[in-house]
Amino acid sequence: MIDKGVPTPAAAVAGIFHGASVMIGGFGTAGMPDQLIDALIDQGAGDLTIINNNAGNGETGLAALIAAGRVRKIICSFPRQSDSHHFDARYRAGDIELELVPQGNLAARIHAAGSGLGAIFTPTGFGTLLAEGKETREIDGKNYVLEYPIHADFALIKAEAADRWGNLVYRKTARNFGPIMAMAAKCTIAQVARIAPLGGIDPETIVTPGIFVQRIVHIASAAPSAAQAA
């Protein structure tokens, strides 16, 4: 019998190695897998390349991972925020490498990785600093930049519910990067607020089929109702 459930966040992040590339879901704090990140900090892996939309907020989650000195490089679209001081300090000190990617290209490159494409011509960024040095091409009268897929060794994402085969559904705008990161990583680890029985999620509504998910861990405290009460 296949059961992708693991008992604890520590078990969920086991095997994430020094130097790994790790996608982390979330847009700001919505969909951010806080408990998995905490477990990753405890686990100790460093020299990580992180792919996320942002570069951490405040003191928890990705910001804490950065503060702990575990991140060598970050690929993201929007690092600078009012409370991104941990990233800011390490970036200004030259301790973290930044690859800045327009948000839609970030999504498209992650999606391309999950879909097995070798590269894509995207119109976003043409003629800008972020396309400098990149191959460009005019196709049907419009200009495009060649962008390559972003793969990762691991993805840490947050979903609303899972069954033991790893099928996932999400909650509202916490969905964001979860489904495409799940496709693009070799090992996708999801923290979920609820475990459903097999067949308990309507097959028409499954957003991420279990084929894209390797481990799930139930985090009751990650339930949105709890977050709302906080």
């Binding site: 919505a30 679209s77 690092p79 999606h111 979860g178």
Partner: protein, 218 residues
Amino acid sequence: MQRLNREQMARRVAQDIPEGAYVNLGIGLPTLVANFLPAEREIFLQSENGLLGMGPAPAPGAEDPDLINAGKQPVTLLPGGSFFHHADSFAMMRGGHIDICVLGAFQVSTRGDLANWHTGAPYAIPAVGGAMDLAIGAKRTFVMMELLTKTGESKLVDQCTYPITGMACVSRIYSDIAIFDIGPQGASVVEMAEGLTLDELRALTGVPLIAGAALQPG
């Protein structure tokens, strides 16, 4: 000269958004436009973090941390709204499915280049977010901005001096002093603040301006 304030600018943009339009309102000043959309028009607001059919801010205490807009503010979803992932969301944008995108700007050139993501200052940490996708994706890109900087320089320029967000992507500028259409011939003036003449506007901006149809003597 009677300049528009921020609310008046937002109201003026809202006037031009037709029923049934799919619209993305950028962070900052453009977000205000939502407050002035006529209640009798059904207009579909998209937020690039994965929702379509965005409603107004929730009542205090009813905020949901999983229901936010691109500016990470709590919002609501209208009946008929939907959720989707980031690749689908930017496919809507990049694929030309959004009718109108309204963005703020540091500068716009008379050929429609937009600069709104980076001051280019050497100490600044760059951050782009969805700006470059929004700039070039929609069928029409509207810019909302005050026409002059605090030191009186025109933000409508011959050539952007800030790093650009997108090339030749702006179709219309709504400012506190005038409204401009951007086309192959350059910038044409659609409307001006009361009491302003075209020559005064030319002097303020320092760029070539065409008189739009509505300004022509009948």
